[in-house]
Amino acid sequence: MADRVVVCVGTKRGLFVFESSAKRKDWKLRGPFLEGWHIYHATVDTRSTPRIHAAAVSDVFGSTTFAGNLSDAKFTGAKKPPVPPKPLPQHEKFYKEWGISKAQRVWHVEPGRKGEKGVLYAGTAPAGLFRTEDDGKTWEPVNSLNNHPTRKKWMPGAGGMSAHSIQLDPADTKRMYVAISACGAWRTDDGCKSWTPINKSVAKYPGAPKDGEVGSCVHKLLLHPAVPGRLYQQNHVGVYRSDDYGATWNAIHMGLPSEFGFGLALDANNPDTCFTVPLKTGTNYQFRATNGPFRVYRWNGPGKGWTAQSKGLPADGAYLSVLREGMSADTLNPCGVYVGTGTGHVFHSADAGRSWKSLAEFLPPVLSVSAAVV
């Protein structure tokens, strides 16, 4: 039986940590930590003594990673942080026209597999993959991906060009997945020596390169921990599932009010389930808001469609945004689901999305939510 559930909430003004027993009824808040830093992502590494790793961005001081024990939250910054590649010259016009930040940012931190002591991966914007073998003190680029021959065709999306999803196959130490907006998803089967784009049968966004497998605007990609090769992705143009390690994808967004969204979460105990928050698209790209009522949608598997989860969520007048790191699920059964919003709200469910409660209100804008069982 798990002792505690920990939810790291990264905001525009620091990191907040919520903890509860496995019942997930009473929550204790700690923080803010790393005040002043934008916490793009924070996760608990549960491989040994639980440690929090955070991807942090400052408008003044650049970007880095922090690590500290969960018990005391005394953080230490990287001595050699990931240094993202610079924006490609051919993207200058695009960045300018769309008002996209060219800042070099660490976007996501992902612990390695069990047994890979001290190993973590980081994704950055502009897109880069980095690896540490000393628990985040020093980072080295994974140039097999960062200098991939197709890089000249990679394009930023409206949110920039970030390597935001890093998923490690728990059963195959040489296989992992990385997703980059707005380039697509990649898989390595040989321990990062080479990378294969895995975007066949995923629709391309308007304006994407027409030929080749580069140009899919994947917003979030997750690997189910219990079924080898089962992947889900929330894309700019739909929600997709793959059962063959990303070689092919099936669209599953039929029945959602919008195919557009950013966040995604999986139920570790039910490989046929995923959760997402569809966002409204519309003119002037005002797409980061729901259209009044706030709903988390649960997919129930092939042929079973989507269920709108509304019990306990705002019924109307809730113009909320959920960013790509803004959803997470714990691994208990039934799973807990956690959603953070741009308004500083965090909603949580302890029954696999059937009912919801407010975990926090009036935090700074939420950039990331990550749950762990320790």
Partner: protein
């Protein structure tokens, strides 16, 4: 020019956890040497304070005592005992991101 003196380099609070110190004591003859000595002692400090070109990031200010180094013609100014070099984030706003 006199020999090296010991001066303090004050670290912005947001960087204490990265640099591992609130201030660094360095020995140098000039302001430029002192800043470089601080960067050599804690290389991550350069990452956070400087652009790739070596210039200070746009919103980082450096003061020698009460003087903003942006108002100096050169950093090759002699230091004296008790001088303090302070890095601070600039207070700015109003820009549309």
């Amino acid at each position: 020019m006199a020999g090296p003196v010991a001066v303090d380099v004050v670290i912005p609070s947001m960087l204490h956890a990265s640099v591992g110190a609130k201030k660094l004591r360095v020995e140098a003859t000039t302001l430029a040497e002192a800043i470089e000595a601080a960067f050599l002692a804690r290389p991550v400090l350069r990452h956070h304070l400087c652009e790739d070109t070596g210039k200070l990031r746009p919103h980082v200010l450096c003061f020698l005592n009460d003087t903003n180094t942006r108002d100096m013609k050169t950093l090759a100014v002699a230091l004296k005992d008790g001088d303090e070099i302070v890095f601070v984030p600039a207070i700015s706003g109003g820009a549309v991101h």
